[in-house]
Amino acid sequence: MEETRKTGERHGALANGMHEDLPRQDHQELVSLEGLMIGYRHGRKEQLLSGPLSCSAGGGELIALMGRNGCGKSTLLRTVAGLQESLRGRVILQNRPLPDYSRRELSRLLGFVSTEVVRVQGLRVRDLVAMGRYPHTGWFGNLSENDYEQIRHAMELTSMEPLADRDLDELSDGERQRAMIARTLAQDTRIMVLDEPTAFLDVTHRYEIVSLLGDLSGNHGKTIVFSSHDLHLSIQVADKIWLMMGQDILEGAPEDLVLSGKLEEGLLSDGAAAGFTLDPATGDLVPAREPGQPVSVSAASEELRLWTSRSLERMGFRPDGKMNVPLHVRVEGEKGMLKWILEKSGSRMEFNSIYELSLYLRTIV
């Protein structure tokens, strides 16, 4: 009956070899992909999305999976979670190939959170989290004292206790995501796989979820693989990035990938993202601009200078430190009574806000 078992023989022909000349890392590898080809089968036809992919995740590591839209991140995560068959190659979990696990064994080792928005009327958070215990309970799902303890612990780690009796249907997006993570925690697995856990969330909730994941991997030893489009956050928290590029996957500390230029290349090189560049100072994507007309900015505080410069940049100017340029902006006055003075080839104009200044500058660009 095990749906994954059928693929058993196919994995004999693995296309690995990429790691062989590297010294084996001495920490335990919990997840490793060996020449994994992901995609879909339509009868006899195969639609290859990506591969061969080889990379790994060590115990207690937080891995951010990144790559452009449509590169197969969700397919890869579903394949790793055993919800989809691979075309070739294999996924090794805890030194054992994925197809060797029964559905139940796998569910005790790996928990999964998908992008699907689950809305069930009348399903309370407490009952949802309790479902995480299903891999550990009998045919009827009766809970033991230990099961209740695990459920309580999962709710505590995700701060879900105040919402325990709420309907899943009534939760905000961030709360629901936390509830789904709590369910996976109650499942008590060493590995957690999350598909875009921060999608649909506003910036504070994105931070909340990602720092929760950081806490779970750093302090509770979970090995977590999550996909994300949020470069800034991923660079900050991930121990390692799996970067899907073309048919390939690259792995490394975020900083390694930034320094090698691969991150920029992998996320930006063509299509919609063109015209943006990775700001090395912040790890943020910023619009790449043609160097415009130089302008000098002076202000009493660094804060005023910075924000004024930003607005000028947006309008296509190039604020730089040099004073001997034809255009000069000076900020004067106190907070609440600020004035922006524009000096241009002898003439002088005053503005009461950056917006007013920008209205004028737009007319002369």
Binding site: R103, S107, R119, Q121, Y134, F140, D169
Partner: protein
């Protein structure tokens, strides 16, 4: 807190069920005074011996059939709504009633086409067997499909299409058949709780129990399926086994009721929603007994209405359940516009 509330709800509804059951015995085309009826029930004798026959051979079997039919259809509907994650799914969504119709139509009208000049008399067992075979065939077809097709929505669509094909075949049969036989068939499609005899009751009850046991045994699977098949898989549930268990259980429940009583609509769609409202939960450990008890009450009430108290006419039960059930479905759909976001 929940336990106390559930205890009172189940207790209250059990009393209501008993009350409805008793009230149902009072109704019928022959007026039997309350005192006489109670004497027949508890003492077993009456001045009018034919009243004993009426109560024992007609009214009690009919009321028991209503209880069994109501709880089975509602349970089948609940399972299908959860499995397909669709609030408008019901016991017949797999095409079971169409399959049963095809069986009956083939028996009634096929016989005419083969032997146009023969004498036609159909025993109830013949019709029951034909309906059973028809719905069983649809179930087998769906099981075969579900081994090959992973996507549950595709299976839902195929179920509906199978149903449409059988309806088309039934229409063709109707077109070529004799009027009197057509009437036999039409009467069957109107549904009736009164055709089940004392002798048939144990068969009805026995097969429905098998369906109920399968359903009760799938309670964990049903709860996991609330989150969708991928989540169910990730929690160690064997989704294929679950599907097969639920298909078989639903086919037994809905197929058997249809075989004995004809297609009875809307109970199976409406009652699970009512039960969710009453118990305010999605947990099948509560919902399974909940829909069973509410379904039994609703079909008893429908039966009472169909007796048109105060007259000796009888309405087809299928029309009554539609008249009661559709407003409930409309109300629920309007009240809960989030349905639009489901799936």
């Amino acid at each position: 807190m929940d336990r106390g509330r559930n205890f009172f709800l189940f207790g209250g509804l059990l009393i209501l069920l008993l009350a409805c059951f008793t009230a149902d015995l009072f109704l019928g085309s022959v007026h039997i005074p309350a005192g006489d009826l109670l004497r027949i029930l508890f003492a077993g004798h009456s001045e009018q011996p034919e009243w004993i026959t009426i109560v024992h051979d007609f009214r009690i079997p009919r009321a028991i059939t209503a209880v069994l039919g109501g709880l089975s259809l509602s349970l089948a509907g609940l399972q299908m709504q959860t499995l397909f994650r669709n609030p408008l799914a019901g016991p017949y969504v797999l095409g079971i009633s169409s399959g049963a119709s095809l069986g009956v139509a083939l028996l009634v009208m096929g016989a005419y086409i083969l032997f146009p000049h023969g004498e036609m008399r159909f025993r109830t067992w013949g019709i029951i067997t034909a309906a059973w075979l028809g719905s069983g065939m649809i179930m087998l077809l769906l099981l075969l499909v579900s081994f090959r097709i992973k996507d549950i929505m595709t299976i839902l669509i195929l179920g509906i299409l199978f149903g449409s094909i059988t309806i088309a075949i039934v229409s063709i049969l109707q077109y070529f058949t004799h009027e009197a036989l057509l009437k036999t068939f039409i009467v069957w499609t109107l549904g009736s709780l009164g055709n089940v005899t004392r002798g048939q009751l144990p068969v009805l009850a026995g097969s429905l129990s098998a369906g109920i046991l399968l359903s009760a045994g799938s309670v964990k699977i049903l709860n996991a399926m609330l989150l969708g098949e991928n989540y169910a898989r990730s929690m160690g549930i064997n989704v294929l086994t679950g599907r097969i268990l639920l298909f078989i259980s639903t086919s037994i429940l809905a197929g058997t009721v249809t075989a004995f009583c004809g297609p009875i609509g809307f109970i199976g769609i409406a009652v699970p929603h009512v039960a969710r409202l009453i118990w305010k939960t999605a947990d099948h450990r509560v919902l399974i007994p909940g829909v069973m008890i509410s379904g039994a009450i609703v079909l008893l009430l429908s039966d009472m209405i169909s007796q048109l108290p105060g007259s000796d006419r009888l309405l087809p039960i299928n029309s009554v359940t539609a008249l009661i059930g559709i407003p409930v479905v409309v109300w629920i759909v309007l009240r809960n516009q989030r349905f639009a976001n489901l799936s």
